[in-house]
Symmetry: C2
Subunit: 454 residues, 2 copies
C-alpha cells in the first residue's frame, strides 16, 4: 500500500483542511490531528486554513483561519461530535475541481487535506490530477472517516468504533428492557449499502439468551417470509425477540424493502394489502412534501423516516396474529442521527485513531508524498490489538476501477463475518469489532436461582 | 407530608419487593437500596423476596429469593438499566389485590415495596386497605420511578435525571450535526401526557444560536399552522431549525395530533390530503396487524411507531415548499426506547437518589410507618443543590382524589417552566433540571473569527 511518491524536496506554502459528508463522533479529532501536526512544520507549512462546509464553502472562498486557534478551543472541538468546520454532501464536477485548484493556486495552498468518505477520496484524486496537469505542486490527502466502516483498503474506518459503541449500548439497554417487558422489538440501524454498523449490535450480548437474536444486513437479501419465520422461531424459544436490521436490507435484486416489487408481491400473497396501501400513501405524502429526494450521489434518503421499522413491526405482528390468533407485543425503533453524532459516547480507541490519521496525513505530506489516503493496518488482535497508519492510493480507496465499471465502491461485510443463515454475525466479527469499541458498561442480570414456588 | 403512622412496635416477618411499568436507567439502584437496607434489619426482616415481573408474577407466586445474592451481582444489576426483577404493566383489580394480600399472608410477608409510577402507588394503597380490613399488619411502601417525572408531591422522580441526560446529549449531538449540515430537524421525545423529558432537550444549549430552537409539549396545545410559522421564522433567522416535540403534543381539546379532528381539518385546509390519506392508511395497517392497542390503563400506545415524526416532517416540508418554492432539507427522528434504557448514560445524582429512595422506604417501614410513598424534597439549588427523602401518603402520590373525579393524576410541567408563546422552556426550568442531570460532555464550537474572503 503506497501513494504516489515524488520526492521534490519539501514544498513551502499554505495548508487547507476540510470535512465532508455525514458527521461522526471523532471527525474533529482528525481535524485536530491535521492542525496539531501542521504546527510542528512551520518551516514549510505557513498558514492553516479551514474550509467552511467542505468544498461547497471552499468554492465560495468561505475559509476560516485556523492558525491562531488556541489549543483549548481546539481540544474542546476535538472532543465534540459532528464536523466542527461544517460539512457538505457535494460531489464536485470536473469544473468544480478546476475551480478548487485555481483557488489553491491563488492562496498558495500546497497542502490539501480532505476528511471524508470514499467520495471525498475520489474528489481528491481528481483535484490532484488537475494540479499535476498544470505543473503545480499540490499535496492532496484524504483522511478517512465514516460510521459506515465501508471504505476500501483500510482495516476499519475512524468514526465506526464510536458509532458501533453507541449501537452496542443502545442494544444492551433494549435487550434488558425487553427482558423486563417481553415482546418483539425491531431496531433499524443506519447502513444503506453495508451492514457493519448493524452488525455491531451483536456486541451487546453478554449472557445466554441475550439479544439481538437476529441481525439482518444488506449483504444478505431476505424475504418477509424468512424474517417472519426467524422471529417466530426465536419468540417460541425465548418468549421474546430482539432484531437488528439495516435500513438498507434488500431483496434478491438488491432493491431496498420499501422499493421492492418482490416485497410487494409477498405482501399481496400474505394478504397484507393494508401495508401496500400504506406504502403507496407514504410515497405520495413524501412526493407532495418534496421529500422524495435523492442526494447528488444518487442515494435515496431513507434515514429521515421511520417507514421501514413501522412496516416490519406491522408485518411481523400481522403474520404472528394469524399464526397464533393473537398479535404479540411488537415495537420498533429507528435509531436515527444519534448513531453518528450522539454527544458523549466515544470509543477511546476510535478517538485516538482518528487523531492519528489526521497527524499521519500531514507527516506523509511532509515526507514528500504527493497524494494518498491514510489507511489503518491492524497488526494484532484481542489484547494485542494494534494498528499502524499506512498510505494507500486515492484511487484504490475511492474504488476508481469499480466506479468506472459501474460497480459499488464500498466494502461490504466480509463473508467470514456472517453466518450461513444470513441472519447473524460470526464470532470472527466480534473479535474484529470489539477492540474498536472498547469497554462497554455493566450489563447485570439477576439470576433466577431457585424459585420459591412452582 | 407524611404517611399514616401506627406505632405498634416493629413487626417481624418477610419482605417482598417488585418493579413495575417502563424501565429506567436507575430503577435497579432503588432495588439495591431496598435490599441493602433490609439486610441491616435482620432482627425484623427475615427473608427478602423479589417478585418476578411485578405483581403479575407475584399473583402466580413467581418469586425470587434475593436474600443470598452476593453484593457483586447486586452491584452489577444496580448499574444496569431496566428492571432487573422483570416488570409488568398490570393494574390490579380489587380481586387481584385481595389475592396479593392472601399471598402476603401465606408467605408471612410484612414488608411490601413496589417500585413504580403513580399506578403502582394506587395499587399499593388498595392492597394496604385490604390488609387493614383483615387486621393483618402489612407495611406497604411505594418507591417512585419514572422517566416522565410526572409523579405528584415529589420535587422530581428517580429515573428522570438519567433519561433527561440522554435526551440532552442526544440534542447536543443533533445540534452540532445540524450546524455541520443545516436543515430542519424534528425530534420526537417520550412523554404522552407531560413534557418534562422533552423540555430536557433545552439543556443541550450552550452557545448563542444553539438548538433546540423550539420545544413543544402536551401542556401547550398547538396547531400545525403555529408550528409551521415558528419553524419558518427560526429557519429564516438561523438557516436551520432543531425542534423537540413530545409524542403527546395535542390540539386544544387535548387530543393527540394523530387522533385529532382539528389537525385533520387543518391538513384539509392546507391542501395536504396526502397526509390525511397516509394517516388513514396507517390506522388501517395498525388495525390489520392487531397493533391498534391500548394498555390496561387506557393509554394508546404511540411510542412504538415513527408516525408523528414522519407526519410533522412532511407537513413542514410541504408548507415551506409552498412558501419558498423549494422544500428545505427536513428530517425527523423518534428517539425511542433508548431514552428509558440506554446502557451507560446515567446521571450520578439520579443514581444516588434512586438508591436513597429505596433505602429510605425500608427505613420508614422500620420506624413504624405502615405505608407511604417516598418523595424527594429539594432544599437547595445550583451549587447548593440538595435533597432529602420524605414520606408522603400513597393516596396523595397516586392522586386518588383526582382519579375519583376522573381527572389525570400526573404532574404537568409548571407554568413557570414554560414561556409565554408555549414553544420553549424558561430559565427557571434549566435551573430546576440541570442539577438532576449533572455534568454534560463537551460541546465545542469552532468560532468563525475573521473569514479570509468576503
Amino acid at each position: 500500500m503506497s501513494g504516489r511518491i515524488q520526492r521534490t524536496g519539501i514544498v513551502e506554502g499554505n495548508l487547507v483542511v476540510g470535512q465532508s459528508g455525514g458527521p461522526t463522533a471523532v471527525i474533529n479529532q482528525s481535524l485536530m490531528g491535521v492542525i496539531r501536526e501542521a504546527r510542528f512544520h512551520k518551516d514549510y507549512i505557513k498558514k492553516i486554513y479551514g474550509m467552511h462546509n467542505g468544498i461547497e464553502g471552499f468554492l465560495k472562498e468561505d475559509i476560516i483561519d485556523l492558525g491562531g486557534k488556541l489549543p483549548r478551543e481546539l481540544a474542546e472541538v476535538a472532543s465534540s461530535p459532528a464536523s466542527g468546520l461544517g460539512s457538505c454532501r457535494k460531489k464536485p464536477t470536473e469544473d468544480d475541481c478546476k475551480k478548487i485548484f485555481e483557488i489553491c493556486r491563488k492562496l498558495n495552498v500546497r497542502y490539501f487535506f480532505y476528511i471524508g468518505g470514499n467520495d471525498s477520496a475520489l474528489s481528491a484524486g481528481i483535484i490532484n490530477r488537475i494540479a499535476a496537469a498544470n505543473n503545480y505542486e499540490l499535496r492532496v490527502f484524504h483522511v478517512p472517516k465514516t460510521i459506515d466502516n465501508d471504505l476500501l483498503v483500510t482495516d476499519h474506518c475512524p468514526g465506526y468504533g464510536s458509532a458501533a459503541k453507541y449501537v452496542a449500548q443502545c442494544f444492551m439497554g433494549n435487550d434488558l428492557d425487553q427482558r423486563a417487558l417481553p415482546g418483539i422489538k425491531i431496531d433499524v440501524c443506519m447502513g444503506r449499502t453495508a451492514g457493519w454498523l448493524t452488525a455491531a449490535s451483536a456486541l451487546a450480548r453478554k449472557h445466554e439468551g441475550d439479544g439481538p437474536h437476529l441481525i439482518y444486513v444488506p449483504e444478505r437479501p431476505k424475504t418477509l417470509k424468512e424474517i417472519v419465520a426467524d422471529i417466530s422461531r426465536i419468540y417460541k424459544k425465548y418468549k421474546r425477540c430482539l432484531v437488528a436490521a439495516s435500513e438498507g436490507i434488500c431483496d434478491k435484486d438488491g432493491h431496498e424493502f420499501l422499493n421492492s416489487e418482490h416485497i410487494r408481491r409477498e405482501l399481496h400473497e400474505m394478504g397484507m394489502q393494508s401495508v401496500i396501501k400504506w406504502m403507496d400513501a407514504f410515497g405520495e405524502m413524501l412526493k407532495d412534501a418534496g421529500r422524495a429526494e435523492k442526494d447528488s450521489f444518487g442515494h435515496v434518503q431513507l434515514s429521515g423516516t421511520g417507514a421501514l421499522a413501522d412496516m416490519l413491526a406491522c408485518v411481523v405482528a400481522a403474520a404472528m396474529k394469524r399464526e397464533t390468533g393473537k398479535a404479540p407485543r411488537v415495537r420498533s425503533d429507528t435509531l436515527g442521527y444519534a448513531q453518528r453524532s450522539f454527544a458523549g459516547i466515544v470509543s477511546e480507541v476510535d478517538s485516538r485513531e482518528a487523531l492519528m490519521v489526521g497527524e499521519a496525513a500531514v507527516k506523509y505530506s511532509i515526507l514528500g508524498n504527493i497524494d494518498g489516503s491514510v489507511v489503518l493496518d491492524r497488526t494484532g488482535n484481542g489484547e494485542n490489538y494494534h494498528v499502524e497508519p499506512a498510505l494507500a492510493s486515492l484511487d484504490d480507496v475511492a474504488g476508481l476501477k469499480l466506479v468506472e465499471k459501474g460497480k459499488p465502491n464500498h466494502k461490504p461485510l466480509s463473508d467470514k463475518f456472517l453466518n450461513a443463515e444470513g441472519n447473524d454475525v460470526t464470532p470472527e466479527f466480534i473479535e474484529y469489532a470489539m477492540p474498536l469499541v472498547g469497554t462497554l458498561p455493566p450489563k447485570g442480570l439477576l439470576r433466577r436461582g431457585e424459585t420459591l414456588q412452582k
